[in-house]
Point group: C2
Chain length 339, copies 2
């Protein structure tokens, strides 16, 4: 689907065609959970994860043979405003580190037997500075979404989405302020490490940029075009394609969740196939999770991005699936389930 | 050490001989974390886990070749008071399920490559009903601790401690009330599923039992002897042996943490080598974690026991160690670490 999309209008048309949950299959998972040798509900969120996988895969038992971690990397014109603690060339350097196997995400993918795919989005040519005008043109934004859709290939059972992009927490903050309102300072935070005057500057840039693009405020795709970035638009696209392809999604931290929230703002049900994997230490993330009604699986104070929190949650997903399929029922084990 | 202990007096003597942290080795881990390709502190709790492992293993790099999950099973005389939703024979049935590979803990050990050891503690002969008198004699309690110590063998890198024992959340509640005060209802909860009148009965039994044994209130080992159980005393013993053997400990839920808290009540530093793996849905657990100053790694609403939360946290530990050892430094990766 991704290779034929040239405008946001076409993206809008796809949104009307996405499949819903398979509640019948999810009920099979729920029924089995009730028979397993544990007090009812005692595995709590692990049981919910098995049911959620079945609901969106449309299949029981849940499958986790081939999880993919997709990291999208992009550069942002707004970096010129001094909003990050690191220079923009770090985006490409970190992509090199991903390819060489030296980043955190490489170790996490090895730990949890996931396949890593890194998608570079024109790093040498950043998006336009959204404090001056729209970050992307219509076709540029739609193409980025289409590129993201390509990450969801046949045979992928679960996809972990994440990003790398110097200045992209500034973009995420602007997206959230435009989508959910409040004060700019509700949504900004240190990112890779800005504090004091530099953080005040970041907050001011976010406030002014959202004010500049206020005419977009009721059109989430237009918010993405004006205040987002290529890697974030790609994540929005990947979330759409995952829904189409019946692939449950683990969302990483703040920037990734903001990209998915674009769809929530269009219709909350559009991200029912997504779980937020980890609550970032970036302060806007918990507020964003509340705004979209998602409780993160993990809360370990991490603030790295690059899909690290999503990959870490794969361990929980694997545990959930293995318990669901490997545990004995009360009848099989000869354990009394009567009070 | 475990096989020569016949009295709580001997346990007390051992407590004075336990080794402290190796801060010099932990500093090596901290130094390396600062050089890895991520913003400083961006892996947060994962970085802390690597440092904590080094501090208590006394070795850098941290080792996680051989994690052991130890589940202690015991039966409680107080079960006769109708405090559990399941009959006492379920303890032995679940041990059978552990041995046959059908329980949640079996699947979790497979998922995270851990060795499972199950320790039965005289299931056919429950401890005495502590609502009528002390649960155990002095030698019986000391022997149970000594048995628990045997779980910490040479070559184990990390130990996950957990329990199985119908009525043992009643025992855990009584231990906590005796150690930390408050109301009995602060410490009781549904356990395997008691509600309404049955929960009121459980709370009353806890209050009356602690009142009966009030003379023990300033002597934590005596609190364990009177209000504990064999599997809980074994966990206390295993925590002691792990300190002696430089083995970091992941504590499972409410009953396990209560058994470790006995040592905290003697001297808070005695459980510095322990991390609480998962915050149980059993309501007393979060209160207990606050009382001993520990923040659980995971909070997934689980309330199963059998070391399930501790085994699940092994995935985080493995991720921490793999990131710590496998990530490139800024210098190795040619990534700019300058602002």
């Amino acid at each position: 689907m991704g290779d034929t999309i040239g405008s946001l209008k076409e993206v809008r048309e796809i949104l009307g065609t996405l499949p819903g949950p398979d509640d019948e299959v999810a009920a099979k998972a729920t029924e089995r959970e009730g028979q397993l040798t544990k007090p009812p509900g005692a595995l709590a969120r692990l049981e919910e994860l098995s049911e959620w996988m079945c609901r969106w895969q449309g299949n029981h038992p849940p499958r986790l043979e081939r999880p993919r971690v997709a990291v999208f990397a992009g550069n942002h014109g707004v970096a010129a405003q001094g909003v990050s603690a690191f220079p923009p060339e770090v985006t490409a350097q970190m992509v090199g580190n991903f390819r060489a196997g030296g980043a955190a995400i490489n170790q996490l993918c090895k730990t949890f037997d996931a396949e890593l795919q890194v998608y570079e989005m024109g790093l040498e040519e950043p998006t336009a500075d959204f404090s001056q005008g729209p970050a992307m043109g219509d076709a540029e934004c739609a193409n980025a979404m289409a590129y993201g859709m390509l990450a969801v290939q046949d045979g992928i059972d679960v996809i972990c989405l994440g990003e790398m992009g110097i200045a992209n927490t500034t973009s995420a903050s602007a997206l959230c302020l435009a989508m959910f309102g409040g004060e700019a300072s509700d949504w900004t935070g240190p990112g890779t490490g800005v504090r004091g005057d530099a953080l005040d500057n970041k907050t001011r840039i976010v406030a002014e940029s959202v004010a500049l693009h206020t005419e977009a405020k009721d059109d989430p795709l237009e918010i993405m075009r004006r205040l987002g970035g290529r890697e974030l638009a790609a994540i929005t696209g990947a979330v759409i394609a995952a829904r189409m392809g019946r692939v449950p999604v683990l969302l990483d931290g703040y920037a990734t969740t903001a990209a998915a929230a674009i769809l929530h703002r269009i219709d909350p049900q559009l991200i029912d196939h997504c779980v937020v994997a980890h609550c970032s230490a970036e302060p806007g993330h918990i507020r964003l999770c509340q705004a979209i009604g998602k409780e993160p699986l993990l809360n370990l104070g991490m603030r790295l991005g690059e899909a690290s929190g999503a990959a870490l949650a794969l361990g929980l997903l694997r545990a959930a699936v293995n318990c669901h399929m490997g545990m004995a029922t009360f009848a099989e084990a000869g354990v009394s389930d009567k009070e």
